[in-house]
């Protein structure tokens, strides 16, 4: 049983990294949004599995939050925003798909090297989880850097937060405070973002962050 439970946890965490990669090369907003929902779904499953094998019932709550909030509510809401703004065109990526994938692979390798080396004494499950979590965090960062569109930057940020939740649940017995706070922060982040998106729309008629760059703070 020990072996199987480890394998399943490993597989779920690995799938999260895989979905992160899929997000990286996705250049349509709707597809990206669907992938984010999938990302959150995988996360919810992974957290629920952790709750089961660690025998930590409070983690089920975290899984539920991830499922309801990140896999359903946010994607639906963002979907509606995209429709209302009429921006379901292609995403312009700053870096091409090829280089982005290569960079992503490099980051994952980096995460593995760093985390596996320093956690040699921790239990294997926590080790793998942390390494995967760091990969997801770094891929989320990469996505935020390579996209110009505000919506996809936000999705990048949220998948980054998913990585953090994975890390927090992998750390056995970590107090609930942090999990709730992560969910809470996502909520607030979403409200802030929502407000901003509408304000950006109001002012610029576009959600392309590049348009913002025209209004450089340094006015001449």
């Amino acid at each position: 049983m020990r072996g199987l439970s480890f394998d399943i946890a490993h597989m779920l965490a690995g799938s999260l990294v895989l979905v992160s990669f899929m997000q990286l090369y996705q250049d349509r907003l709707y597809a990206l949004l669907n992938l984010f929902a999938l990302h959150a779904l995988v996360l919810a499953t992974s957290v629920a599995w952790q709750a089961f094998i660690q025998d930590a019932p409070h983690l089920y709550l975290t899984a539920l939050i991830a499922l309801v909030f990140k896999a359903i509510v946010i994607p639906v809401a963002l979907h509606r925003i995209i429709v209302r703004l009429g921006i379901h065109r292609e995403i312009e990526t700053v870096v091409g798909v090829g280089p982005a994938m290569l960079l992503g692979m490099g980051l994952v390798a980096l995460a593995m090297v760093v985390m596996l080396r320093v956690t040699a004494e921790a239990d294997p499950l926590a080790r793998e989880d942390l390494a995967f979590a760091l990969s997801v965090v770094l891929l989320g960062l990469l996505m935020m850097v390579t996209r110009r569109n505000a919506v996809s930057q936000v999705i990048g940020f949220m998948s980054l937060e998913n990585g953090l939740v994975l890390a927090a649940t992998g750390a056995k017995g970590m107090p609930l405070v942090v999990e709730i706070s992560v969910a809470f922060s996502v909520l607030i982040a979403f409200i802030v973002i929502g407000i901003f998106l509408f304000r950006i729309r109001e002012r610029f008629d576009t959600v392309d962050v590049q348009a913002l760059d025209r209004f450089r703070g340094e006015r001449r």
Partner: protein, 479 residues
Amino acid sequence: MTFDALAGVLLIPALAACLLAALPGYRLTSRLNVLATFLTFATAVSLFVVEPGSGPYLLVDDLNKVFIVLTTFVSFTTSVFSASYIGHEIKIGRLKPTYVRFYHAMYQVLMFGMNLALIANNIGLMWVAIEMATLTTVLMVGIYRTHEALEAAWKYFILGSVGIALALFGTILVYMAARPVIGEGVDAMVWTVLVTRAAKFDPALLNVAFVFLLLGYGTKVGLAPLHAWLPDAHAEGPTPISAVLSGLLLNVALYALLRFKMLLALNPAAIAPGPLMVTMGLISCVFAAFMLYRRRDIKRMFAYSSIEHMGIIVFAFGMGGPLANFAGLLHMTMHSLTKSAIFFAVGHIAQVKGTQKIADMGGLTVTNPVLGWGLVLGVVAIAGLPPMGIFMSEFLVVSSTFARQPVLVIILVFGILVALGGLFLRLNTIAFGEPRGPTAPADASYVPMFAHLAIVFVAGIYMPPALVTGFQNVARLLG
């Protein structure tokens, strides 16, 4: 929980935030805002008289007492300045009454977040508090809803969130390092417990954790090259918020960093956090000093000056040792007071001139003598000229570290001198020469500005022995 001063510094802002969100009318709410911040300040001072015990969630020791009193004091004086500043903004129609209500409520939420971050005894709770403070300032930076304000708020939000996310990862790693030693559960995140057992933690995990924490909280401190959000956020938000950001929020992030540095210092096998901090501090100082020369926006210029000073402070703490820590602590206090005083002056100047562009200001000492000379005094202080307090603290930073690392200190002094040149070049245009732009008298409150400058001036000449011993205790604590 019994009511003590620790609960007070949290409850007063929390209650005030609810009240201010509900009450209409600018006059009433701005006064209530001042009253609430004053009460918080008074409660914070009472920590020196009666020291409440530390619990599993809240903690008070010599280190955070200094930070809390400084934070509550500057937020009190800023709220006085804010009352007259916001009054003017309403008069010219830049802010709508609904936004003012929102602004005051957010101001108190920000106070709550910063105070919680300072007294949290739990690394998770501290992270939540800093995140909360960050998000409130994001909302406040965007409050004018202009193009620039939105861009600044967006940039701040994205960079701030990334920083805060990295800090959370670091926090989780610290928990991972502590768990095998302390055991599962809340105890492995409590400062007072962590500190006693730190020597047994896995050093490799602690090292990686510190790198994440340095990058994460370092973004919030505004260390180069993670500083990109800072000038925009300072320039585009309301000026009271610039004063609070520069004078306080940067300190709060620095406080978090110092706590983790103390933790690492207790583990003999972990890397020394000093060199990393010294490097980032030096880079920030020299980089920001050069950036001062190309600034055309007055608030942006002083934002870069904040980066420079945070660099000096981080350098001092990175060098470590009782003397350098003392100097860093003093410099931090002086910088908070001086920089907020400068922003008080700058806020009114920008209102008089109707612009923040340096090129459109001139001859302030002739047209608005009080504001003009106030700014001159502030810049003299921030540039580190005697007899002001910053001269003292910079001198201490340099003299306490010169014997150990002469080369590094020469780089630091170079940065300080370059910054001095940049500041005076611009000050010359703003304060002296032909008057330019509108010259209407300002309806300003000068008291907060001159109160800060007076403290900085006195500190440059005479430091009360009680204060010196207090700072020395903290410096020893920092190791």
